[in-house]
Amino acid sequence: MQVPLSWYLVVAAALFCIGLYGVLSRRNAIGILMGVELMLNAVNVNLIAFWRYVEVVQASVAGQVFAIIVITVAAAEAAVGLALIIAIYRSRRTVDVTEADQLKL
């Protein structure tokens, strides 16, 4: 008997909220980035879960494609994000988001 869909959704929601908490409350930029990654993962779980439970019957793979695209975007975002963080670190000697609150870095 398959795992009911709502379980996946609940776990994904939990994962999403944990990621959200990470984003909202961590002081370190990289911590925030990790939170974002978690949230994206949660989204992916949802996508694949829906693909598996709803879309498979129509033999379409939109969910999977979408998940792949989310993964690529996440990768690109992580790369650029980290580049930015390092650039900020190099110019401000800190990675602490709360300190980087001036428009002019």
Partner: protein, 722 residues
């Protein structure tokens, strides 16, 4: 038919001189010769067309045996409020006669004034071409008046003529006289304009009333029977019929323009203008316009049987004739004597109209125009000669342009007859022409004056004997006839005086001694006018009067009612006798032993009466005191009252109120509300800016938190709602 073709062209007649005026004013005023020729051509064309139409109107009438239908041809319409006023021109026998006289006289005077204005000589007038422009404009005015078919255009041309007379009288506006109470041309022009203006106002009032009553101003509609009937029967202010009121009012205009009794004061002073002007305007045409006007609307006068308006006209005419005749006797200025004679002759014409002698009046108008123009041009030539002589004698002295009196004041007045004498031998052409004019004026047998003046007297006598068609009461014409007879005597006397003083005897001054004959261009017009003055009368002989045919039989103005004056030997004899008597007295006083000194032999016997005549019955002074001074006083008082008591306080008051209001508004409205609002907005933005600043912490996570919270709220909302 060819006649219609030319009748259609009548509206061109006034246009030729108008075109001449425009051309001179706009282009040719620098070239004096060119201006002269333009003026001549203008009036020449008008003259040719005029005579052609006169001949056609006359011929038309004779052969077609049908009365000449007055021939209104609408040109264009002037919108007058709700109704349209059809403006056009008309031709009938009366217009024909006028078109015979006016353009020809104008042409003679135009030619004469070239010489008079010293064309080509050193002393030519600096404003030479302007003079020709003005007289062309005047000719257009007169011809227009004659041709127009309704009262409105008549009034328009009437005013144009008034303007021209003002401009021409004051032609030498810079001339000043040492003698303070001697009127300068500028003042004379103004006086002429204002006095005629009074007359015009009366006329305008009459026209307005006519319009209100009948709703139309064109002659054709006015003289339709039912309109006349309506005017005669409806009564204004209870008793007086409208026809009388309107007639008298319009006659007032004629009085003003033709210088009849109450408003005659401007004509003698108008002599300040150049002599051709006097001849043209103040002898032949303009003054006769009044007579033409009354002749044109005579049906209005006869609309009411035995109406008072005819009596008014007659008495004013007769009285003016006598009154101005007396004044003429005591005048030394040659032109003023002729001025008074003009006034008296016009009096004759109005008297004739008054007693219904319509044909006699118009015939006298035509003849008078010719010999009076002749007399004036002659006097002009005399003055010109004396002026020339004066220059000749005072050669080394002062040079001055204007031929009239010298600029420095009147030490030597070329117009004064006392400075002349014995000029016949020196100026034979002018002299003899002048004498022919004088004979025509006084009404000696073969000359025109006799036929026209006698006819008036004859009709006056008939009117007295057995009344006339128009219900003129039987007895009162006798007074008119009596006054006219005395006026005729006086005319003869002062004419004789004039002739003997200027031409007979020995020259009393050096200037007169050296007075040369005028240039030919001035003398041959005199000769032509002299010829006309003599042979014109033959047309009016009672037993074969062409004039009667034109105006009576073939004219539709009065149709058959016009009295056909048979030749009354008795009346003719009396008038001839009276004229001869006048000449006799004149010869006795002035001709027999030519005066040496500049004293008037008449002065001693008449004594106070003479001074009365000389000072023109002090009417000028009376008017000055009675009318002008009070009016000016009233005006200044009104001004004073108005200015200090009414307008100034009002204006200042408004100013003060304005300032007070702005002050009040500033305190009451501006400061609290406007400033308040503006500052309030400023403060509000500042405060909100301050308040909002707090939200920009720069912490990215704050923004994220806000975003998440809003998502939550939306979510809750969504759940709560669903």
């Amino acid at each position: 038919m060819t006649a219609n073709l030319f009748f259609n062209l009548t509206w061109l007649i006034p246009l030729f001189p108008l075109a001449a005026f425009a051309i001179i004013v706009l282009w040719t005023n620098r070239n004096q010769l060119l201006s002269t020729w333009v003026a001549w051509i203008g009036i020449g064309l008008a003259w040719i067309l005029g005579w052609l139409i006169f001949w056609l109107a006359g011929y038309h009438a004779k052969y077609l045996t049908a009365p000449v239908e007055n021939f209104p041809v609408p040109l264009f319409s002037i919108p007058t409020g709700s109704t349209e006023l059809q403006v056009g021109f008309q031709v009938d026998t009366l217009t024909g006669l006028m078109l015979f006289m006016v353009p020809f006289v104008c042409l003679m005077i135009f030619i004469y004034s070239k010489g008079y204005m010293n064309y080509g000589t050193k002393a030519v007038d600096s404003r030479y071409s302007r003079f020709f422009a003005y007289i062309s404009l005047f000719a257009c005015g007169m011809l227009g008046l004659v041709v127009s078919d309704n009262l409105v255009t008549l009034l328009i041309f009437w005013e144009v003529m008034g303007l021209c007379s003002y401009l021409l009288i004051g032609f030498w506006f810079e001339k000043k006289y040492a003698d303070p109470n001697r009127i300068t041309p500028k003042q004379a022009g103004l006086k002429a304009f204002l006095t005629t203006r009074i007359g015009d106002i009366l006329m305008l009032a009459g026209m307005l009333l006519l319009y209100t009553q009948t709703g139309t101003l064109t002659f054709k509609e006015i003289f339709s029977s039912e309109v006349l009937e309506k005017l005669a029967t409806t009564y204004a202010f209870g008793q007086v019929p409208w026809a009388t009121v309107i007639a008298i009012l319009i006659f007032g205009g004629a009085v003003g323009k033709s210088a009849q009794f109450p408003l005659h004061i401007w004509l003698p002073d108008a002599m300040e203008g150049p002599t051709p002007v006097s001849a043209l305007i103040h002898a032949a045409t303009m003054v006769s316009a009044g007579v033409y006007l009354v002749a044109r609307i005579i049906p209005l006068f006869v609309a009411v049987e035995g109406g008072t308006q005819l009596a008014v006209v007659a008495f004013i005419g007769a009285f003016t004739a006598l009154f101005s005749g007396t004044m003429a006797i005591a005048q030394n200025d040659i032109k003023r004597v002729l001025a008074y004679s003009t006034i008296s002759q016009l009096g004759f014409m109005f008297a004739a109209l008054g007693i219904g002698a319509y044909v006699a009046a118009v015939f006298h108008l035509i003849t008078h125009a010719f010999f009076k123009a002749l007399l004036f041009l002659g006097s002009g030539s005399v003055i010109h000669g004396v002026e020339h002589g004066h220059h000749h004698t005072a050669h080394e002295g002062h040079g001055h342009e204007s031929p009239e009196g010298d600029l420095r004041g009147g030490e030597f007045d070329a117009n004064d007859m006392m400075n002349m004498g014995g000029l016949l031998r020196r100026m034979p052409a002018t002299g003899w022409a002048f004498i022919v004019g004088a004979l025509a004026l006084t009404g000696i047998f073969p000359w025109a004056g006799f036929w026209s003046k006698d006819e008036i007297l004859a009709d006056a006598w008939n009117a007295f004997m057995h009344g006339t068609e128009f219900g003129v009461a039987k007895f009162w014409p006798i007074f008119v006839w009596a006054m006219l007879i005395v006026a005729a005597l006086l005319t003869a006397f002062y004419t004789a005086r004039l002739v003997f003083l200027t031409f007979a005897g020995r020259p009393r001054t050096e200037a007169a001694h050296h007075a040369p004959e005028s240039v030919p261009s001035m003398t041959w017009p005199l000769i032509i006018l002299a010829i006309f003055s003599t042979f014109l009368g033959l047309f009016g002989m009672p037993w074969a009067s062409q004039v009667y045919n034109l105006l009576g039989k073939y004219s539709t103005i009065l149709g058959e009612h016009i009295p056909h004056g048979e030749f009354n030997a008795l009346v003719a004899g009396i008038s001839l006798f009276v004229a001869a008597l006048g000449w006799l007295f004149g010869w006795l006083l002035y001709g027999r032993k030519p005066l040496a000194a500049a004293v008037d032999p008449l002065e001693k016997p008449l004594g106070p009466v003479y001074t009365l005549f000389k000072n023109r019955y002090y009417i000028d002074q009376i008017y000055q005191k009675v009318i002008i001074r009070p009016v000016i006083g009233l005006a200044s008082a009104a001004y004073a009252f108005d200015d200090r008591i009414v307008i100034d306080p009002i204006v200042d008051g408004v100013g003060r109120f304005g300032r007070w209001l702005s002050e009040f508004l500033k305190k009451a409205v501006d400061n609290p509300i406007v400033d308040g609002a503006v500052n309030g907005v400023g403060r509000a933005t500042a405060w909100s800016g301050e308040f909002m600043r707090a939200t920009q912490t720069g912490q990215i996570q704050n923004y994220l938190l806000v975003a998440v919270v809003t998502v939550l709220l939306l979510l809750i909302l969504f759940i709560v709602r669903s």
